[in-house]
Symmetry: C2
Subunit: 385 residues, 2 copies
C-alpha cells in the first residue's frame, strides 16, 4: 500500500443553512478543498451521507454532486454508515489512493437536515438504530444515550457536572471556530438547568441538528511532496469496526467496543499508542459519548472519562486536548459531514493553522467517528510527514 | 495492486419475499457465498443498497447486517449509487483486496422493496433521479426511459418489436434460472399488448419490484490458488463513471455516456476489447436500457442494438449472449442487489456451472450495472484465471 497524504481541506460555516441546498453546500466545500490542495484535477470522489433519502428525498448523490462540481465522468460513490458516514467515506478514499487505483481522490461528507418538517429529522436519525427492536418500540437517540449515561453514572460514579463539563469545554473551543454552528460559551449551570430531553441529558448535552458539508483531497505522499505547498500531513493509521446495532444486545452498554477495536487497528498500523497522540477529535454527539470515547480510545482508564474531563485533561493545554474544534456539540453535527470535518480540523492543527484553537506542537492527531450508539466506528491517525 | 479472485457466490430466490426481512435475506445469501468459498473468515464487508431508509425505515445496515451474520467487529460499510449500488459495492471490495488492506472481503447487495405501501416504492425509486429538476415535476423512471426509447426509435429506427424481443429473450433465459422472480417465457405480442406504463413502454418492458440479496467473496488470486476448490475466476477489469443525474442535461439521451466511459476503463485494465468478451450481464431495467447498454459497451454499432437483438445476436448461442441469467427483466431487480447478482451469474458461467443457461466455452464475461437513467455506471470484467 502506498503512503497517503491529506493535501487539501474545505469546510463551510455549519448551521441552519436555509439559503443553501445539498448541492450548494457540497460544491462550496469541495471547491475550497480543491483550492486548498492546489490541484487541477480529481480522479475519483466519495460522499459520506447518512440519509439524503429521508432528509431531502434524494438518493444517488454521488453522481449528482459530481455533476454539480463539474467533474463527471469520474467515479462518484456515496458511503453510508449512519453518523460515521464521513469517516467511512474518508477511509474508502484512503484505500483507493493507497491501492494505486487513483492518485487524487476527494473525500467529502454532507447532510442537509433542516429541510424536513415535523418529527422528520428525529425519525430519519432513528433509522441509525435497530428499526425492529429499538425504533419500533419508540426509543430515539437521546433516549438511547441517556440509558448509556445512566449506566455509566451508576457503575463508575460519573456525575451530572462531569457531563456538563464536556459541553462547557467544547463550547469554549467552538467559540473560537468560525465554522461552528454555535460559537458561544456556556456554563455548567446552564447545561444542567437546560430543558430535559432524556434524563439525565438536557438539550445542552445534545449535539444539534445541522446542515453542513466538508471535503478533503488525498493523494499519494510521494506525489504530495511534489505538488503540495502546505505542511505535509500523512494518514498513519486507519481502523474501522462494527458492533451490534441494538444497545440491548451488547455485553456492556457503558463501553464502545467498536471504538476500541477500530482504535487498536489504527494504533497498530501507525505503530503508536494512546500516549503518542497530541490531539483528538472525538464523536461527542452527546456529552456521555465523549466520555465513553476517550475511555475506549485508551486515553483514560475505563470509567474515568468524566473525572479526566472535570480535571481539565481534555481541554486545549491539557494532557490530551479533545475536540479543539468545538466538537459535534458546538461546531454542529451534520451527520454525514462530521467525520470529514474531524479530518479537516486535525489536518489544520497539524499544519499549525488553527489560530486561537491551536494545540501547540501537535504532531499527531486522531479522529473517532461513530454511527448510532457506536455500532460503527472509524478511527484515523494523521501525523506530520 | 494485487490480482483479485471471486471465490464464492451466494444467491437466493428473488421475488416478493413476504416471509423474509432485510436481515434474513442478507444472511441467507452471505452464508451461501461463504459456504461456496469454503472459507471460515471474512475480514471486511460491503453492502450495496439503494434506499433501505425509504423502503424499510432502516439506515446503518452495514453494522446491522454484520451483526446478524455474526461477524462483528469487522468493518461493514454500505455503498449507495442508486441501482448501481451492488456493482459499486463489489468495486469497493475489489479495491480493498487489491490494496492489501484485507484478504477475504464479502461484497453484497440487497433491497427489500415490497414492504412499503401505496406509491412508496415508486417514490423511493424516483429519488435516483434529480429531485429538483425531474422528480419535482412528476416524472418517474418509466417516463424517463420512455423518453429515451422514443428518442432512440426516432433517431435510429428502433422498433416496438425490437424492444419486445429484449424482454422475450431475457424471459427465455430466465425461465431456466431457479433464482428468477419471473421464470416463464413471454411472446412479443404479449409485450406489446400488455398494459401501457409510459408510451412506448408496457409493463412487460419494465423490470419488476423485487426483494432480493446476493453476495460474493473476494480474495487475492494468490491466496485463492491455495484455498479455493472451484475453477478460479479473476477480476480482470473494473471501471466506474458518472454522468449528469438529470436527463435533460445530457448531450444525447439515446446514449449511455457513463457506460462507455466505465467500459473503456475496464477494457483497458483487462487489456481486451468488446470482441474478446464471451458473455454480458447488462442492466436491462427497461428493454430500451439493454439496447443502449450493448451500444455503449461497443458490442454493436451505435443505433443497432435493437436490430442486433432481433437478429438473435444477444441470445445464448448468439454472437454475444446478453443476460443469460434472465436479466433484471425476468430474474428481478432488487435494486441494490442487482449488480452483485450479475457478478454471481458471470462467475458461475465462467466456472461452467450454469446448466441449461450455460454459454459454451465462456472464458471472459462483463457486467454492466447502472444507476438512475445511467448517471452512475460500474463495469467489471471477469475471466477464467
Amino acid at each position: 500500500m502506498r503512503d497517503v497524504a491529506v493535501i487539501g481541506v474545505g469546510l463551510i460555516k455549519w448551521g441552519e443553512l436555509w439559503e443553501k441546498s445539498l448541492r450548494d453546500m457540497f460544491v462550496e466545500a469541495a471547491l475550497k478543498a480543491i483550492d486548498d490542495a492546489g490541484v487541477d484535477k480529481v480522479d475519483s470522489m466519495y460522499v459520506g451521507c447518512m440519509s439524503s433519502g429521508l432528509f431531502v428525498g434524494q438518493e444517488h448523490i454521488g453522481a449528482l454532486l459530481a455533476d454539480y462540481l463539474g467533474v463527471c465522468p469520474i467515479p462518484a460513490t456515496r458511503i453510508e454508515s449512519a453518523c460515521a458516514s464521513g469517516g467511512a467515506a474518508f477511509r474508502q478514499a484512503y484505500i483507493e489512493v493507497a491501492s494505486g487505483m487513483s492518485d487524487f481522490v476527494l473525500a467529502s461528507g454532507i447532510e442537509k437536515m433542516t429541510d424536513v418538517g415535523g418529527g422528520g429529522a428525529t425519525f430519519a436519525l432513528a433509522t441509525a438504530a435497530d428499526q425492529e427492536y429499538e425504533v419500533y418500540n419508540g426509543v430515539t437517540f437521546p433516549g438511547l444515550y441517556a440509558m448509556m449515561a445512566r449506566a455509566h453514572m451508576d457503575r463508575y460514579g460519573t456525575t451530572r457536572d462531569q457531563l456538563s463539563q464536556v459541553a462547557v469545554k467544547n463550547h469554549d473551543n467552538g467559540s473560537k471556530n468560525k465554522y461552528a454552528q454555535y460559537p458561544f460559551k456556556i456554563t455548567t449551570d446552564q447545561v444542567k438547568n437546560a430543558v430535559m430531553i432524556a434524563d439525565p441529558l438536557t438539550i445542552l448535552d445534545c449535539s444539534p441538528i445541522t446542515d453542513g458539508a466538508a471535503a478533503v483531497i488525498l493523494c499519494p505522499l510521494e506525489i504530495a511532496k511534489k505538488v503540495s505547498r502546505k505542511p505535509l500531513v500523512k494518514v498513519a493509521g486507519s481502523g474501522q469496526a462494527s458492533d451490534t446495532l441494538a444497545l440491548h444486545q451488547r455485553k456492556d452498554i457503558t463501553y464502545l467496543a467498536a471504538t476500541e477495536a477500530a482504535a487498536r487497528i489504527a494504533y497498530d498500523m501507525a505503530g503508536v499508542g494512546p500516549s503518542d497522540i497530541d490531539l483528538i477529535e472525538a464523536h461527542d454527539c452527546f456529552t456521555i459519548a465523549e466520555i465513553m470515547a476517550i475511555e475506549a480510545l485508551g486515553l483514560v482508564e475505563k470509567g474515568k472519562g468524566g473525572h479526566a474531563t472535570a480535571k481539565g485533561e481534555t481541554a486545549i493545554g491539557g494532557r490530551i486536548p479533545v475536540n479543539a474544534s468545538g466538537g459535534l456539540k458546538s461546531k454542529g453535527h451534520p451527520v454525514g459531514a462530521t467525520g470529514v470535518g474531524q479530518i479537516c480540523e486535525v489536518t489544520e492543527q497539524l499544519r499549525g493553522d488553527s489560530g486561537e484553537r491551536q494545540v501547540k506542537g501537535a504532531k499527531r492527531g486522531l479522529t473517532q467517528n461513530i454511527g448510532g450508539t457506536g455500532a460503527s466506528c472509524v478511527v484515523h491517525i494523521l501525523e506530520v510527514a
